[in-house]
Amino acid sequence: MISRIEKDHRRFREIVRGRIRENLRRYVSRGDMISRKGKETVSIPMPQIDIPRFVHGSNKGKGVGQGDGDPGDAVEQGEGEGDGSGKAGEGEGQKAVEVEVTLDELAAIMGEELGLPRIEPRGSQNLETVKDRYVGLRTTGPESLRHFKATFKRALRRQIAMGTYDPQRPIIVPIREDKRYRSWKSDPKPQSNALIIYMMDVSGSMGDEQKEIVRIESFWIDTWLRSQYKGIESRYIIHDATAREVEREVFFSTRESGGTMISSAYRMAVELIEREFDPSNWNIYAFHFSDGDNWSVDDTAACIKLLREQLLPACNQFGYGQVESPYGSGQFIKDLRSAFGDEELLITSEVKTKDDIMDSIRDFLKGGR
């Protein structure tokens, strides 16, 4: 029998799920979830779940405290409460209610809301990862794996057997034969692996808001793909007139000026795939975000050639998201569309404002590739 509290608890989780679904669009476009991301969970501010009451508004952070200090000194923020008690005289409902959900749950909610199909991985059977597990002890090994307790037990046993153990002076000295080391077994495990290559135009015409859109969108794409694959690699390429591979943090914070040569990024992506990721073993996803203001017609032609001959054959899917910028002509998306028509592997999507992010994510992921 399940206990009463578990029923109440389940009901609570249901409600949370429902509220997240209802408000997903708003959560997505605000992007405040990303900053609250922990390792496997996000905490989501959920004022709607709070019960409204007549309460006092801000009392301008006033209160009574105890301790040393002169007027004007800062009061340290106290952590924790004594013994699970409430705080004296503090009004209720001062803290915004936050609810924690796992990233997997979040992905599932998004999948439901957007009607995303599950992805059929390809090439998974060929790829094995090896997982090591400590299973027992053996007599040889590196000192770093020495099993302390077992070693001392052996030594104690030996000393007692040899009659050199003195209970009054219990000194045990292990010798080489006493030493025991952890041993491991390697388990090969089939695994479906995926690579996501994010590319972003960081030329002068891409402003903060455009980058924010890219940041939010890639967070959700990441979350979804991660829920579909066991192992995921993410790589980040930024480009203006030239491209370079960067760390995740740099990717979202860089601002360069200068022109835009999209082909430089595509070329780098091709090189990256050739160098490290065999398309027959990896599910490769590439997403490129730009304001669509490419340097020249020639470069656009080069891009189309790279896509057709090298990138698209290697990828499960290639997504091009075009953000709107006050400076850009936005020509690139038109060029792509006329060149590829209804090619399934290439998906283009325009993201004018944060409100379009959800639709754009759906465009990118609805194919279930």
Binding site: F12, V55, K62, P71, E76, G78, G82
Partner: protein, 507 residues
């Protein structure tokens, strides 16, 4: 599960010490439970069974998480019933269990003797179980969703009750005031009495009863009668009771609202006496442990646990600590006679420091205090300038520029004022029902007695929405926003905020 023998013996030992000191407890039943059960019972505010609702599940979620992260551990849980139920956490050390039993003895004595608890239902375990089965029945009959949604609505106003209602003689009938929910009373017409003086000399009549005066009296009486016809006759704080009596509710809705109201009144005294109650329990665990119950080898563990209880974060008040310090201060003052006119008027610092009349009234004084006071009166009466200075109290406020909390002042008057403000009505706004027939259109009018702090407007709006769901007609609230008198009204579709000519005053 019956208590293991060593704990049962420990209980007998500790309750013996408690009685020696004059504590008087309800029969106390301890149960040994694991941390999951503890979280469950704590989510249900100490009761094994409550009506089904997701709020309890949310509390459980929070508690299990904070236990898993090691942020907090619930040591003890005790409820105000007779017999009194208390819970011990399985796997706590024996010193901890001892400490908990001493602490619980303090709470139990407090429940039994503090006058604010005198009207509470001591059989509330049954009461709660009864409420649970009633709500379940309504859910079976009308569906989970509507009942749950209605409970949400009721929770939104469950703080709108009148703390003094249980003590008002005319309402405290035999079944016990707030506990029994109100019933509509038929109202009869009473002839107007304007206090005309009688005389057998008719020519004196104009002098004894001047016509203008009589006319004035008649008007006033008529007005009073009009007033009495008004619903409510006078502004009233027990909104829950008022709705129960006057709102157009389905029978099941009325039953649910009644349940929420009964429980709100049951928990009220605990909110009124947080500092006093925790202080009293802390005073006694410290006393019982250090003078009687503690064994030599337990001292360190005890000290650690006890210091955790009274630890003070700089920007918040720990009711355990301030409570216990106040009781100790009172005890010391009444032992040495540091009270009364003579003491107050003494200017001689030297004499004050050496003051000792050897009255030894301390113990009987703290027992009296625990019987008669609540947090507000406790602080008002015993939080002295001397105490404030010795324990380094200060007020803090947020510095607008830096956004950090800074010490504002250590001035006694300001500290006390701030403290009382935080405690009065639990730091919540005073809301009154003013008129059930506002605009002569059956609209409900509420008013906020503004005491210097505005309402949180988003919440106020949402609460009005919920009220309309119960009242089924427009509901308005008079309040003050940024020093301007305003009326917030929700008519079922739209919230409007309009200017009022003058701010509402309680007359």
């Amino acid at each position: 599960m019956p208590l293991p023998r060593h704990l049962a013996q420990m209980q007998i030992e500790i309750e013996g010490y408690a009685r020696d000191y004059g504590l008087d407890l309800f029969t106390t039943i301890y149960e040994l439970i694991d941390y999951r059960q503890m979280a469950e019972i704590a989510s249900y505010e100490g009761f094994p069974v409550r009506y089904p609702h997701w709020r309890f599940g949310m509390e459980y979620d929070r508690m299990m998480k904070s236990q898993a992260y090691g942020l907090s551990k619930i040591y003890e849980l005790v409820i105000n019933t007779d017999p009194c139920y208390a819970y011990l956490l399985e796997g706590n050390s024996l010193v901890d269990q001892k400490l908990v039993m001493c602490h619980v003895s303090g709470h139990c004595d407090f429940f039994k003797h503090n006058r604010f608890f005198s009207h509470t239902d001591r059989k509330m375990i049954d009461g709660m179980a009864n409420h649970a089965s009633r709500v379940r029945r309504h859910m079976d009959r009308h569906g989970v969703d509507p009942v749950e949604a209605f409970i949400d609505t009721c929770h939104s106003i469950d703080n709108l009750i009148d703390p003094w209602l249980p003590f008002r003689a005319n309402l405290a009938d035999e079944k016990g005031g707030a506990r029994s929910n109100p019933i509509r009373e038929p109202s009869g017409e009473v002839p107007i009495n304007i206090g005309r003086l009688s005389s057998d000399r008719s020519y004196l009549d104009d002098y004894l009863n001047p016509p203008e005066f009589i006319e004035e009296q008649r008007k006033r009486a008529l007005q009073e009668r009009e007033q009495a016809k008004k619903i409510p006759p006078r502004p009233e704080r027990d909104l829950l009771g008022f709705l129960l009596m006057h709102a157009p509710l389905e029978p099941w809705e009325a039953d649910v609202l009644g349940i929420i109201r009964e429980e709100a009144y049951y928990f009220l005294p605990q909110r009124q006496t947080k500092i006093m109650n925790e202080g009293w329990a802390t005073y006694w665990h410290s006393k019982l442990m250090t003078t009687r119950a503690l064994r030599d080898d337990e001292v360190i563990d005890y000290a650690e646990a006890a210091s955790g209880v009274t630890a003070m974060a700089p920007n918040q008040l720990n009711p355990y600590k301030i409570g216990v310090e106040l009781y100790r201060d009172i005890e010391e003052r009444w032992d040495t006679g540091k009270f009364g006119k003579q003491w107050d008027e003494c200017d001689d610092q030297q004499a004050k420091e050496e003051w000792d009349l050897q009255l030894n009234l301390g113990k009987s004084k703290i027992f009296e205090v625990r019987r008669l006071y609540n947090d507000v009166t406790f602080i008002d009466e015993f939080f002295t300038m001397d105490f404030c200075r010795r324990h380094k109290f200060f007020t803090f406020a947020e510095n607008r520029r830096t956004g950090r909390a800074e010490i504002e002042t250590r001035e006694f008057k300001k500290v006390k004022e701030q403290m009382l403000q935080q405690l009065t009505n639990f730091g919540q706004p005073f809301i009154y029902v003013v008129d059930a027939n506002d605009h002569n259109r059956g609209e409900l009018l509420l008013a906020h007695r503004h005491e210097g702090i505005d309402l949180k407007l988003g919440y106020a709006r949402d609460t009005l929405r919920n009220l309309v769901r119960i009242w089924k007609r427009p509901v308005s609230l008079l309040t003050i926003i940024d020093d301007k008198a305003k009326r917030i009204r929700f008519d079922g579709t739209e919230i409007t905020v309009s200017e009022e000519k003058a701010a509402w005053k309680l007359t």
